[in-house]
Amino acid sequence: EVQLVQSGAEVKQPGESLKISCQVSGHSFGDYWIGWVRQMPGKGLEWMGIIHFRDSDTRNSPSFQGQVTISADKSITTAYLHWRSLKASDSAIYYCTCAVDGTTWFDPWGRGTLVTVSS
């Protein structure tokens, strides 16, 4: 069974950096895409980008380009979302999810990481 385990909730101040993680277990090595999805309080789901584990091919949403970096370490089957300088507007729940190569649906999903940015 495939499982996605996300890192715990974070409370940060504006201007601080942050890296959250999503560890994948139960999948064939490298044959899948990991997607990151933002959900702001009371709002809908937004794609931030997807990354392929085998070759780190990354497809970023123009809305998030330059604001956040998506990366992956295939040796530990873990994907990351990294901010260099957080803003209050980055406060949200961030979900990771997974799509097998050659498919276009995402299942399962991680439980989400709540990021709160406040001074």
């Binding site: 999805v37 809908g44 794609w47 931030m48 497809r59 276009t104 649906w105 299942d107 999903w109």
Partner: protein, 111 residues
């Protein structure tokens, strides 16, 4: 790339059927048969309930069904139950990065 358009809310009584629509363009919904639907209960992660427009993952109730016509995909919930009260999001493959786009979301209320 703008989000796909969904009605904000839909309601129905237990046992009734409701349909949620998801409208896109030729670059997403209209161009591919790669629409999926996700159910999200409050405080929970989204859950896949339909993929490739009409297919149901193992374990998902057959009360959920999907279809598509032109630029609009639809999710129908038949025999509405209290547990179906949730937010529903469509998602479509598209050619431009990041290759996927969600709908705006529909809140389903069971009266």
């Amino acid at each position: 790339q703008s989000a796909l358009t969904q009605s904000a809310s839909v309601s129905g009584s237990p046992g009734q059927s409701i349909t949620i629509s998801c409208t896109g363009t030729s670059s997403d919904v209209g161009g591919f048969n790669y629409v999926s639907w996700y159910q999200q209960h409050p405080g929970k992660a989204p859950k896949l309930i339909i993929y490739d427009v009409t297919k149901r993952p193992s374990g998902v109730s057959n009360r959920f069904s999907g279809s598509k016509s032109g630029y609009t995909a639809s999710l129908t919930i038949s025999g509405l139950q209290a547990e179906d009260e949730a937010d529903y999001y469509c998602n479509s493959y598209m050619t431009s990065s990041p290759n996927y786009v969600f709908g705006t979301g529909t809140k389903v209320t069971v009266l």
